[in-house]
């Protein structure tokens, strides 16, 4: 029985793929493997809950057969992982079975819950247990049915098996398979990628990336924040999400005006806010990078993402007020970001207030254009052997007394650059009205995920969905909320000025 009281029945999907085997990890897998170890009790943060809809009238056998085809096509979905004396390995099973639970949605439907929503809830449940990677398939699945007919599939993927890019590939294949189309066999699997990464092309790429990071790590600050940690909340790490259609409108307008991507616009704003809270004129962040530009890797189901190092120097604008980041600011009720921006955290002022003092739209344009270029440099140096990078970081640690803390992140999870379902806005007044619809809420909490500040752009297409996960020893929930509002204020303020000019 589930939390929803739905009836569950177990079935299995047997698969027989074209190839099995064992190889070293890909660099992308190695990076996730390392992150799982570092996160300890918070490792479920890395699991990916996911839902596939079942369109059209398909019976259970058809749906399970399509699932079998996905398992057979993609070695990543039938891979286990283990530490060996020679290092961690991936082991692809040629044959096997995936246990699948069939969940009847009748009970939930009687209580007004749609099958898709039930599937999303089940996916969340499935993702809350750590994967036993040495024994267990790297995905868990349930089929939600109503009246015996499949309505949706609920999944939890280990991040070792799939990144956001891979999930998009699977979603596209799923539509084709349910439509009865046949697909060409995948040409590139993680074991092929591991062999490619062992070659000289990637050795040169890795050496260049390590040198780029080394030169940066020689002089980045040793800490994300200079102020000391306070008493954290329990759980220690909290994530706040802001849903702002105005943010989506503003980011698209500014990206078009400044001829850069919406990612760079959002990155520029988030970096500005983070540097402001840190009281610094330089933002140092890791960028989660897809690493999918090679056409073969762009079609690989697996995990290829790694972290890039993003450095952005900001003009002196009055945004940064280092004198205000002093000890004692982590007391409950006080927010660092509020204190670096007096007034901005007062109710009513976080939203409709003016943009940050000293930062004009032209100034923000300069920051975001620079962010665009700096992001390209970061992306270009984000494909490397994590072991080589760790060795270099340890050397830097010896030189500087300890390794710099780089736990501030930005990740844009969107597969497309805009928000096709956002509302249309023609005037600054309409944008101001839309900005009144912005909402923030807590979207998750974890005991140990190590990040100090982690911005994520979510995949919603109707609203700007910006998440900020923080370590509450440094930034409490209120501070995270205030930082999201500041990023919105920066962009909406600049967009409003452009709309006013055009009026």
């Amino acid at each position: 029985m589930t939390a929803a009281g739905a009836v569950r029945a177990p079935v299995t999907v047997a698969f027989a793929g074209a190839r099995g085997g064992e190889s070293s990890l890909t660099w992308g897998q190695a990076q996730i493997w390392r992150a799982i170890r570092l996160m300890g009790a918070g490792e479920c943060f890395l699991n990916r809950p996911w839902v596939l809809p079942v369109h059209g009238r398909r019976d259970l056998a058809t749906v399970l057969d399509a699932l079998r085809v996905l398992l057979e096509r993609h070695e990543s979905l039938r891979t286990t992982f283990a530490d060996t004396p020679a290092g961690a390995v991936q082991r692809v099973a040629r044959h096997g079975e995936l246990p699948v639970t069939v969940v009847d949605a009748e009970h939930a439907a009687a209580e007004g819950e749609r099958p898709r929503d039930l599937a999303a809830r089940i996916a969340g449940e499935l993702a809350r247990t750590p994967f036993a990677h040495a024994e267990e398939p790297p995905l868990r699945c349930a089929v939600v049915t109503r009246g015996g007919r499949p309505m949706a599939l609920a999944f939890a993927f280990s991040h070792l098996a799939a990144d956001a890019w891979a999930l998009d590939l699977l979603a596209a294949e799923w539509r084709s398979l349910l439509a009865g189309e046949s697909l060409p066999p995948p040409a590139w699997q993680p074991m092929d990628q591991a062999a490619f990464e062992a070659g000289y092309v990637c050795a040169a790429r890795c050496a260049r990336a390590v040198e780029y990071w080394r030169s940066a790590l020689r002089d980045v600050p040793l800490d994300v924040f200079d102020f000391p940690p306070g008493e954290p909340d329990d759980p220690r790490f909290v994530e706040v999400v802001m849903e702002s259609p105005a943010l989506a409108v503003a980011a698209e307008l500014l990206a078009a005006r400044w001829t850069i991507s919406t990612t760079s616009v959002l990155l520029g704003a988030c970096a500005t806010v983070l540097a402001g809270v840190a009281g610094r004129s330089r933002a140092v962040m890791q960028l989660v990078t897809a690493n999918r530009r090679d056409p073969r890797i762009s079609r690989m189901v697996g995990t290829a993402g790694q972290d890039g190092l993003f450095l952005l120097d900001l003009p002196e604008t009055g945004l940064t007020q280092p004198g205000l980041t002093q000890p004692g600011l982590t007391q409950p009720g006080l927010t660092h970001s509020g204190l670096t921006q007096p007034g901005l955290t007062q109710p009513g002022l976080t939203h409709s207030g003016p943009t940050q003092p000293g930062l004009t739209p032209a100034g923000l344009a300069g920051i975001c254009r620079a962010a665009h270029r700096r992001a390209l440099v970061a992306y270009r140096n984000a494909h490397y052997d994590p072991a080589a990078m760790d060795a270099m970081r340890a050397e830097i640690g010896l030189l500087r007394g300890r390794e710099p803390d780089l736990d501030a992140f930005f990740n844009d999870r969107r597969a497309i650059g805009g928000w096709p379902n956002r509302p249309a806005v023609a005037t600054a007044a309409e944008l101001a009205v839309l900005a009144g619809k912005t909402r923030t809420r807590v979207s998750g909490a974890w005991p140990g995920v190590r990040f100090k500040a982690f911005f994520t752009v979510g995949t919603a297409t109707h609203t700007g969905e910006l998440h900020l996960l923080t370590d509450t020893a440094y930034l409490r929930r209120e501070a995270a909320e205030s930082m999201l509002r500041q990023a919105e204020n920066l962009l909406v303020g600049a967009a409003a000025e452009i709309l006013e000019e055009g009026a």
């Binding site: 001829t259 850069i260 991507s261 990612t263 760079s264 999918r292 530009r293 620079a370 665009h372 270029r373 700096r374 992001a375 390209l376 440099v377 992306y379 270009r380 650059g417």
Partner: protein, 83 residues
């Protein structure tokens, strides 16, 4: 000519979404023409592989701004590092 070759390479990096002719005729911002970050990264890889030139957008922010900026950047590095 280098300018024409680079225009073709820009077009290929973007999967042909922008034609080499458009790039040659436009002369303005490559991003405004539709060069995405992904295409820009592929372009930098291609220039490195085919021409043996490392595009340094850190040292020269104009390098990926326009076809002329890129041509000047690559030409400068070709003459400095004979291969």
């Amino acid at each position: 000519m280098l300018r024409e070759r680079l225009a073709r390479m820009i077009s290929e990096a973007g999967d042909g979404e922008i034609s080499a002719a458009e790039i040659l005729a436009d002369g303005g911002s490559l991003t405004a023409l539709g060069l995405t970050s992904l295409a820009a990264l592929r372009l930098i890889d291609a220039i490195e592989t085919e021409l043996g030139v490392e595009v340094d957008i850190d040292a020269d922010p104009e390098a990926l701004e326009s076809l002329d900026g890129l041509t000047a950047h690559v030409a400068g590095r070709l003459t400095r590092s004979p291969r």
